[in-house]
Amino acid sequence: MLLLLLTIFLLAIFVGFELITKVPPTLHTPLMSGANAISGITVVGALACARIGFGPEAQWLGVAALVLATINVVGGFLVTDRMLKMFVGKKRKR
């Protein structure tokens, strides 16, 4: 199991390296913001921490993680969309 997880970790790293090669400077900030929202995937881990019978300390920490991760995800995607709407949407109108 451990070896399998390490393997997919390495493969995902390689995919990430190959994924973007040339990005127009206009998109640097939205891309950063979008990728940042994806890193809020910790929300899934936080959900697992808000489980029953795990001790109050663990649960408090888990719920705090859940709130922060959800802010990261929801806020991140919305902010990215707001930025992109600004200049991508405009272009289509013309």
């Binding site: 199991m1 451990l2 997880l5 997919i8 970790f9 493969l11 995902a12 790293i13 990430g16 390296f17 994924l19 973007i20 990005v23 206009t26 998109l27 640097h28 900030t29 939205p30 950063m32 979008g34 990728a35 940042n36 929202a37 994806i38 890193s39 809020g40 995937i41 910790t42 929300v43 899934v44 881990g45 936080a46 959900l47 921490c49 808000a50 489980r51 019978g53 795990f54 001790g55 663990a58 888990g62 993680a65 859940l66 709130v67 922060l68 991760a69 959800t70 802010i71 990261n72 995800v73 991140g76 919305l78 902010v79 990215t80 969309d81 707001r82 600004m86 200049f87 991508v88 272009k91």
Partner: protein
């Protein structure tokens, strides 16, 4: 059910991959963001319906946490002004890092303090401390420590970056004596406490050591970002974004969740590439940025003593513009601060009605983030076709009548080309100085973010237009309309 959940996780990963790919192209970027968001929705719903390891979710906490987080996130994203966007990205990034840190702390507390009440996912997945073999336990412990370390560094580093971007913390590099030595000492102490936390005899000791590690890592994050100048903050935020991906990936190892591992690793790697692209746009090496101290005053750092500076009032500026055939606007952070983008657009329209050719030159790092200026100008309805990237317009300044610089400074500083001892030597700049006349709309002669003198101000063809960008341009516009 378990297998079905795995398939949905895989689908989420695929959506993330296509999302990032689409985000990198102008035409598809909005769809890319949507795909990534859909992937996240799939991931969360799958976890809610069929949590891994057959654990039982505590619904009142789960629902409360998700609703509170969604409301706060949406509120922040909707209410923040376009000018505050860079800070917001930094803040969200810090939250992501904090979440990974808290997940690791929570699982660690659960493993030790409530471990017998229910079986944690990590254990059944073969990653638990007490569970299987030395190797797995070692990996799990290392993953917890790395989650805590990277998560805490991301949190405090992002908060400092946010402070610098919003001007609450001085943008100039803050240098502590012997800071490199101090950084390494901190790292060493962190490693020692990590070992303590992993191999302590009692749960109490381990828990204490882990919190100490988190605190040390937090200090480390502050120490690492403080000495970096404000002009480099975009690169720092991008790098911290890569870190928060890695932290999520490590948290994935902690709870034995493959989706966290893949998505986190994707962001970590793609974020690193993006960081390098941004560095290249500024012609600086990543190492240079991280060592910091950029623009701390040695070499060309003299900001006083400008000679032969000529200044122009609104009437004079209006006259210069009226006589021009080709005008290039160069917006900078000052335009964002003054909220001058709408006046700029009106001025441009007035000039266009007089058959003046209008273009905008966008330096890759103008403002506090790449793309910052594009967002603001788009908000003011400036046509996309009038925006030109640096490489495409730099050759045209030679036969341009007026280069109007609005609240930009370092990105038009000719010292980058002419003075090899300048701290910004080699940074690509907009060749505004080649235009027949340069109008510098600026509050004062104060230096820009790099904290260095700009010899352009003393040039024969440069006119300083002192004042608030919005007010000054409005007066110029009024002057133009008089005739």
């Amino acid at each position: 059910m378990e297998d079905l959940a795995k398939i949905f996780y895989l689908a989420a990963t695929a959506l993330f991959i296509f999302g990032v790919k689409d985000l990198a192209k102008v035409r598809t970027s909005r769809r890319g963001n949507g795909l990534a968001a859909l992937g996240m929705l799939v991931a969360v719903v799958t976890t809610l319906v069929a949590p891994e390891g057959g654990i039982q979710l505590d619904w009142k906490w789960v629902a409360g946490g998700l609703i509170l987080g969604s409301l706060l996130g949406a509120l922040l994203a909707r209410t923040i002004a376009m000018t505050g966007m860079p800070e917001m990205v930094a803040l969200f990034n810090g939250f992501g890092g904090a979440a990974s840190l808290l997940v690791a702390l929570s699982v660690f507390a659960g493993e030790y303090l409530g471990g017998d009440a229910s079986v944690p996912a990590a254990l059944t997945q073969g990653l638990g401390v007490d569970g299987l073999g030395e190797g797995a336990a070692l990996t799990w412990t290392v993953a917890v420590m790395l989650s805590v370390l990277i998560g805490a560094v991301t949190l405090t580093g992002s908060l400092v970056a946010m402070g610098k971007l919003s001007g609450k913390i001085p943008g100039r590099p803050l240098l502590l004596p012997a800071r490199h030595l101090l950084t390494f000492a901190l790292l060493g102490a962190a490693a020692w406490f990590a070992a303590q936390a992993g191999w302590s005899a009692t749960h109490q000791e381990a828990q204490c050591a882990l919190y100490t590690l988190a605190a040390l890592a937090g200090i480390l994050g502050i120490m690492v970002v403080l000495p970096i100048g404000g002009a480099d903050m975009p690169v720092v935020v991008s790098l911290l974004n890569s870190y928060s991906g890695l932290a999520a990936s490590m948290a994935g190892f902690v709870i034995g969740n493959s989706l966290l591992i893949t998505a986190g690793a994707l962001v970590g790697a793609a974020g690193l590439i993006l960081t390098q692209l941004m560095c290249r746009a500024m012609n600086r090496s990543l190492l240079h940025v991280l060592v910091g101290g950029f623009g701390d005053g040695d070499g060309g750092g003299d900001t006083s003593g400008y000679e032969n500076v000529k200044s122009a009032g609104p009437e004079e500026a209006a006259m210069v513009l009226e006589a021009a055939e080709k005008v290039i606007f160069i917006p900078g952070y000052g335009m964002a601060v003054a909220q001058a983008q709408h006046v700029v657009k009106q001025l441009a329209q007035e000039l266009e009605s007089r058959n003046v050719e209008i273009r905008y030159a966008i330096h890759p790092v103008a403002g506090r983030m790449p793309g910052h200026m594009n967002v603001l100008l788009a908000e003011a309805d400036v046509p996309y076709e009038q925006l030109f990237e640096m490489e495409r317009i730099n050759g045209d300044f030679r036969d341009t009548d007026v280069a109007m610089v609005i609240g930009a400074n370092d990105v038009v500083n000719p010292a980058a080309i002419e003075d090899s001892s300048s701290p910004i030597a080699g940074m690509p700049i907009l060749h505004a100085f080649e235009a027949r006349t340069v109008l510098m709309v600026k509050r004062s002669l104060s230096p820009g973010y790099a904290g260095i003198k700009n010899p352009l101000f003393e040039r024969e063809n440069c006119l300083m237009c002192f004042g608030d960008g919005k007010e000054f341009l409005a007066e110029v516009l009024a002057e133009l309309k008089k005739n």
